[in-house]
């Protein structure tokens, strides 16, 4: 993570996937463009309405810690720009699975990934039913194929004749 005067650790915990990061980036852009257009009192409401509640709260907490007030939009803008930079430079782990995981599932995977590879890690999910089960993971150029399809292929390659004879016997 780049050296910044701000701490985004708490905030990054809530950003799990690449889709979420992209959506957050778009919303930050909206907030930045609102900085000079709105009354200061409305700015906190805008942030609350645009960002998910946990993220908004984390942001307010950080703003308070850094003594950043709405009276100084430049400081606020610098903070948001830094956050954008951090989000854009997050590492991505590409995960290919055979089904769409639940929200809890995504959180669990994200937590594990952040624990293994660092807080600035995002999950890029791909759904590919043909892999049957398991997962294909690409992290930092390393390719790990733990899919059921590959395992079955290997079994078939090594024991092809045996399997074929069983299938013939059973008339399948």
């Amino acid at each position: 993570m780049p050296d910044t005067p701000y701490s985004f650790d708490h905030l990054l915990l809530h950003v799990r996937t690449k889709v979420e990061a992209d959506s957050l980036l778009a919303k930050i852009d909206e907030v930045i463009s609102s900085l000079y257009q709105l009354h200061q009192s409305n700015l906190s409401e805008i942030i609350r309405s645009r960002l998910p509640s946990e993220l908004a709260e984390s942001m307010f907490a950080e703003l308070r810690t850094q003594n950043l007030s709405y009276e100084h939009p430049e400081e606020l803008k610098a903070y948001l720009q830094t956050l954008k930079g951090v989000l854009q430079n997050m590492h991505t782990v590409i995960l290919t699975v055979s089904f769409s995981p639940s929200d809890e599932g995504i959180s669990a995977i994200s937590q594990k990934a952040k624990l293994l590879f660092g807080l600035d890690t995002l999950i890029e999910l791909h759904i590919q039913e043909s892999i049957v089960g398991g997962a294909i993971i690409v992290q930092n150029g390393k390719f790990h194929d733990h899919s059921l399809q590959t395992k079955l292929d290997k079994v078939f390659q090594t024991n092809a004749q045996e399997i074929m004879s069983i299938l013939k016997e059973d008339n399948i």
Binding site: V138, G141, K142, F143, D145
Partner: protein
């Protein structure tokens, strides 16, 4: 056949194309990839790694269309190689060893060699001792070459460089040398023309044309000379002597510049990449004379460089001059004067060839060089309109004959022994006072007779072996000129003038007179 997925599961690394410009692709990922390693794209294209940056890998792709962003790529763990073998003799191939004419069937050789290797060290090299004859009198007598020499051929376009190279190839291929003609980013027409010339001369079975056309991807053009050198190294490893012609390196440098600029490398002089010298030096250093279990095996390399308006001090020109063992310069001025080949002997250099010459050839070389220098001075002097003395007129007349002898059309190749023989007859004054076309007619007859009569060949060789200097050889011929003239049926030979008035003899007799008078 190994597929993309096989490499993916085998190497366990993947990359994603993030940027693609012409033949260059930039990919993230592939953490353990090495420089020069082949990378396979999921779309089927192949490339090889040319640069490693902290965030991405630079890949030179062998595809005409840029790779699409997001395309996955995998390592193969292999470096770029070309199939090598005898099977290629008589074929026209691309830098990957495929037939250029895809309609022709062909069994690829099983052996492979890497196209980019570290040149062999000094311990595996040998001194160049054997001459390399081109069949062109002017070169063999004035700018002699040796087997394993790297001689640059430079000059403006349309000055006869390629014709000279073809003459050399024809002469050497007929003697059994393997000839590789590398065409770098030229027109298809040029390749076809070369093929036709070699077929007509009957040397195609000793020749390989390795060509890339201007329409090919930058990467394919870039690797052409390296592939040709790998092919030459294969024959060298088999103990054979190889002639490699790289036509031309200015074109290669231009294509490499394009790659460099597209790759955002910092431009150096004339916008060429900073490593252009290294690239060409690494290539040319692979040629030379090498020790082999059967004695010696050589790669004689003739790189071609084009000049613009006779500027031999250009960047690429001087670079390659400094990494070769001399250069043959084709002069536009001489070309416009009607000299063929239009080689300027005063601006041409050979750093190795003279050490391969025997005493007789060295003596002739000295004699002719000093005579041509004298002739040039006299010609300049006569331009002032000064009244010419008898000796000046004599020198100018002999000069005309010498130059007429050196004028050699591209379809004529003269054996080195015959070059010595004819030149000695001329020097002796056999055609003194005769019209130049008559003299050329007689020379043509001698060449035809020499080719047809093996007995004459042996006789001439026998006479030459007895001599150690030009004067020595003239003395040997002195008593036999009448016989030679009759035997060769030379219609225009002037037997009366024989042995009296060659410039050297005239000069010598004057010196003798001075010495005698001083005594």
């Amino acid at each position: 056949m190994i597929t993309f997925n096989d490499y993916l599961t085998g190497m366990k690394e993947v990359g994603f194309v993030e940027e693609s410009v012409s033949s260059l692709a930039y990919a993230t990922g592939l953490p353990s990839v090495k420089i020069n390693e082949i990378v396979l794209f999921e779309s089927g294209e192949v490339g090889y790694v040319t640069g490693l940056k902290p965030d991405y890998v630079e890949i030179l792709v062998f595809a005409k269309i840029p790779i699409r962003l997001g395309t996955r790529c995998v390592r193969t763990g292999q470096i770029l190689q070309i199939p090598v073998g005898q099977e290629y003799l008589g074929k026209v191939i691309d830098p990957f060893g495929n037939m250029l004419d895809r309609m022709k069937t062909f069994q690829k050789p099983a052996a492979y060699l890497p196209i980019d290797t570290i040149p062999k060290g000094i311990e595996s090299r040998k001194k160049i001792t054997l001459p390399f004859e081109t069949g062109v009198s002017l070169v063999d007598m004035l700018v002699p070459l040796g087997r394993g020499q790297r001689e640059l051929v430079l000059g403006d376009r349309k000055t006869g460089k390629t014709n000279f190279l073809f003459q050399t190839m024809i002469h050497q291929a007929k003697k059994g040398m393997i000839c590789i003609y590398a065409v770098i980013g030229k027109k298809k027409f040029d390749i076809k023309q070369a093929e036709e010339v070699f077929e007509k001369a009957g040397i195609m079975k000793q020749t390989i044309i390795l060509a890339s056309i201007a329409d090919d991807p930058l990467s394919t053009i870039y690797i052409t000379p390296f592939s040709a050198m790998a092919l030459a190294e294969h024959f060298r490893n088999e103990g054979k002597d190889v002639l490699l012609i790289l036509d031309d390196l200015t074109n290669h440098a231009k294509f490499y510049r394009e790659i460099g600029l597209l790759g955002k490398r910092f431009p150096g002089r004339n916008a060429y990449p900073a490593d252009i010298f290294f690239t060409h030096a690494r290539l040319l250093e692979r040629a030379g004379n090498f020790s082999h279990e059967n004695g010696e095996a050589s790669i004689t390399c003739l790189p071609v460089v084009e000049t613009v308006q006779g500027d031999i001090a250009g960047y690429i020109q001087t670079n390659i001059m400094s990494m070769t063992d001399g250069h043959i310069y084709f002069d536009t001025e001489m070309f416009s004067k009607g000299r063929r080949p239009a080689i300027n002997p005063f601006l041409s250099v050979t750093r190795v060839g003279r050490q391969t010459q025997n005493d007789l050839r060295r003596s002739m070389n000295r004699e002719v060089t000093s005579f041509l220098t004298l002739l040039e001075k006299m010609e300049n002097f006569s331009h002032f309109g000064a009244e010419a003395s008898f000796s000046i007129k004599d020198t100018l007349a002999t000069g005309e004959q010498v130059i007429a002898y050196f004028n050699q059309t591209s379809d004529v190749v003269i054996d080195p022994e015959l070059q010595i023989f004819i030149f000695t007859l001329l020097w002796y004054g056999v055609w003194k006072g005769e019209y130049l076309p008559d003299m050329k007619g007689d020379i043509g007859k001698i060449i035809a007779l020499y080719r047809a009569d093996p007995k004459l060949r042996d006789e001439v060789k026998g006479l030459i072996e007895q001599a150690t200097s030009l004067n020595d050889f003239m003395n040997i011929l002195r008593g036999r000129v009448a016989e030679i003239v009759t035997r060769l049926k030379l219609e225009h030979a002037n037997m009366k003038m024989v042995s009296l008035s060659s410039p050297t003899i005239a000069k010598q007799s004057k010196t003798d007179q001075k010495v005698a008078s001083s005594k």
